[in-house]
Symmetry: C2
Subunit: 169 residues, 2 copies
DNA sequence: TGAAGATGCTTTAAGTTAAAAGCATTTTCC
DNA sequence: GGAAAATGCTTTTAACTTAAAGCATCTTCA
């Protein structure tokens, strides 16, 4: 100790009021990132090896599986949180694979309705069952109490991140 | 209640022993993913708008900033957890931008040593200071207790994910 | 009605990414 | 020393991704 005293820091102290000492938050973000890289990399590899499928296409199929009436491309891009152009390409490849079907909407000829084909549904269900187990293998190492705890902390993080994104600064 | 009784589930129950009911873990993963998309998207946008920089290049510069003696391409790809070919391209663009310098290693002509240029270091430091504040804005909404809690839970997740990845099944 | 704007999607340009094959150099081992 | 294997990196190919510009269609409103 050098005798210099610092103002007390607590949860209410705003970021801007303590411009230094953000190493804590940074470490947390880095750990978050490495979890994400590890898990996503794992899931991508297994989807490719076992089903010859990519994660973005799997995610798109998952959305369609929940919407039996089909979805418009714009809805898909919102749900998946990716750009419009991105969805165009993904759907193209899934149509080529015979897993989804795309047709012009009845009432608006700009709009296209995308649906799972019978084969698409069958294929997706098989992949989803495996995927669920892979995820459970990872997060199942936490107790259900820890999972609830993590779920709640991530809710806070998500809320905070969403606010930040909306601010657009 | 229908009178059917299920075996009790606790933290020790293995995933394979309860093949259904992984919805809990799946929801947790989906929430994790949306946090990641939101935060990363935010950081990418700001790096681009304020510094005309991409996140992968920023990450690479961050590694170099910690290694004053420079790093080999292979080290970089390990630390960044990306492929070799990926690093080749990123370094190429950073050299073109004048932010890093690449030269053949003295003792091994297969190997190349990559270093920050003076401008690279200056540029990175400015970006890193802003980046640190952006991250703090997001994670600073948690109390320091919550951050410690989250840090510890993610340590468990990371360990579990690393084990999974090593298994290669 | 009919121009102006909004909306839904596609195209384009640039970047990131992995896997696999390839090339040069170094190391190992006989 | 020299063949064989390992190592470090690059190239190739294919996929994903965004932002921005573009095209077709629909809606609004004077």
């Amino acid at each position: 100790m050098n005798g210099v005293s610092f103002p007390p820091l607590d949860a209410e102290t705003k970021v801007s009021e303590r411009p230094h000492d953000h190493k804590d938050e940074l470490r947390l973000w880095l750990r978050f990132l490495s979890c994400n890289v590890l898990i996503e990399g794992n899931i991508r590899r297994r989807l490719r090896d076992k089903f010859d499928m990519t994660l973005p296409r799997f995610d798109l199929l998952a959305q369609l599986d929940k919407a039996s009436a089909g979805m418009k491309l714009g809805e898909l891009s919102q749900r998946l949180m990716v750009s419009n152009g991105n969805v165009t390409g993904l759907v193209e490849r899934l149509v080529a694979q015979g897993l989804v079907d795309r047709q012009v909407a009845a009432n608006d000829r700009r709009s296209h309705l995308v649906k799972l084909t019978a084969e698409g549904r069958r294929t997706f269900r098989a992949m989803a069952a495996a995927h669920e187990i892979w995820i459970a293998e990872i997060f199942g190492e936490l107790t259900s109490g820890e999972r609830a705890n993590l779920m709640q902390l991530l809710a806070k993080v998500k809320k905070s991140a969403a606010k930040m994104t909306a601010a657009k600064d």
